[in-house]
Symmetry: C2
Subunit: 208 residues, 2 copies
DNA sequence: GTCTATACTCTGATAGAC
DNA sequence: GTCTATCAGAGTATAGAC
């Protein structure tokens, strides 16, 4: 095996371990999932898993790093081809809902299992969450600068409440339920935009 | 001790055990809190605690029962003296935020630790959560019947998204932060009501 | 009803052979 | 790098004396 193949295999291992762990964590919670279970689900023995991650906390911290990368890049891809700022925001919300609900279990874990970390691991995790928070802040700042959102609107509050509504969806969404992910994403987008847009964009929004 | 005193003492014990446990669960999570810790914090020994609750899960289930009672009665008290339907809704939202954030740790636990329960205990807990869900559904139904909310508005979606925004506040609210609980409650109320009220009430809402 | 002492299980982590 | 075997400790639950 060449050095390049070895590196590729190592990365593939990392992603496999993390995605398998994420599914277990989402299903049963971090604390109720044992390292033995994780190893078994990965087709390894506990000792081998220990070689990659020295502790269970390390798995969770690394998972959160990857989850942030995944959700940010998911949004970047979703909005890069959209020009209109309002539609960009709607696309970003849809992407967040999609990655959270139908995509990556890691993102769910990121949002709901961070309380399991303490001490230094918690500090690292908070730094990762701040990266994502800042990313959304940039999106909203841009909307305001572009004259999309009225200048008197508190965009921090808007972001906090809006993303809260989105994240909580994960606690009640049901694949066989009354609403599709698109409907939910759009309803939240509507609730966030109603009454906060400048006149020009308010007209546009009604047509979307 | 008379039989009445004994019953009172028993109820007081229950509330003490549950509120002490709730604080520990909120702080460290359900799984990371041991029954030894709970007993110690209650000033009892593990054996005595076991006499009241045969298992740790039983504590959590009973706590959820009390939490639902507390939050519903908190809202009932807050809205009972308010006549205007719109203000009733705002008062209910404020009460929910207040009980969740500054009041009862049990309500926080109810919202964030239910995933720790499995099997029969989980079924019981879901039944309790449904009671609360139904209570809010009644509030929204009333608003619609009274001609407060436009007839074309999907009040289920409104409720799900609005309460989601409220509940998520618990993950970011900071007592020393930029916003007070009242500001947050009102901002959510505004976001929920903007663009969904009938003309008559929309005028009223602007004055509130 | 309360306390002491303990049974039993499972956990995360590791040492050392291969 | 992977596997086997095991450690030390924590977890819940309980039996039985008072």
């Amino acid at each position: 095996m060449s050095i390049h193949e070895a590196i590729r295999a190592h990365i593939a291992d990392r992603e496999r371990i993390l995605s398998v762990s994420a599914i277990l964590f989402r299903e049963n919670g971090y604390e109720r999932t044992s390292v033995r279970e994780i190893a078994k689900a990965c087709g390894m023995l506990p000792g081998s898993l220990h070689y990659r991650y020295r502790s269970k906390d390390d798995i969770l911290v690394d998972m959160m790093r990857l989850a942030i990368e995944n959700i940010i890049s998911g949004i970047v891809v979703a909005i890069s081809s959209v020009l209109d700022p309002l539609e960009k925001m709607r696309a970003a919300l849809r992407a967040h809902v999609n990655v959270l609900m139908s995509g990556d279990a890691m993102v769910y874990v990121l949002l709901f299992e961070w309380r399991s970390l303490q001490g230094a691991a918690r500090v690292q995790m908070i730094a990762e969450r701040d990266r994502y928070e800042n990313y959304w802040q940039t999106i909203f700042d841009t909307l305001k600068v572009q004259g999309c959102i009225r200048s008197d609107v508190d965009i921090d509050m808007l972001r906090l409440i809006g993303l809260g509504a989105v994240n909580w969806v994960a606690t009640w969404y049901n694949e066989d339920g009354k609403y599709s992910l698109e409907q939910i994403g759009d309803a939240i987008w509507q609730m966030m935009t109603r009454g906060v847009l400048t006149k020009e964009y308010d007209e546009k929004a009604k047509k979307l």
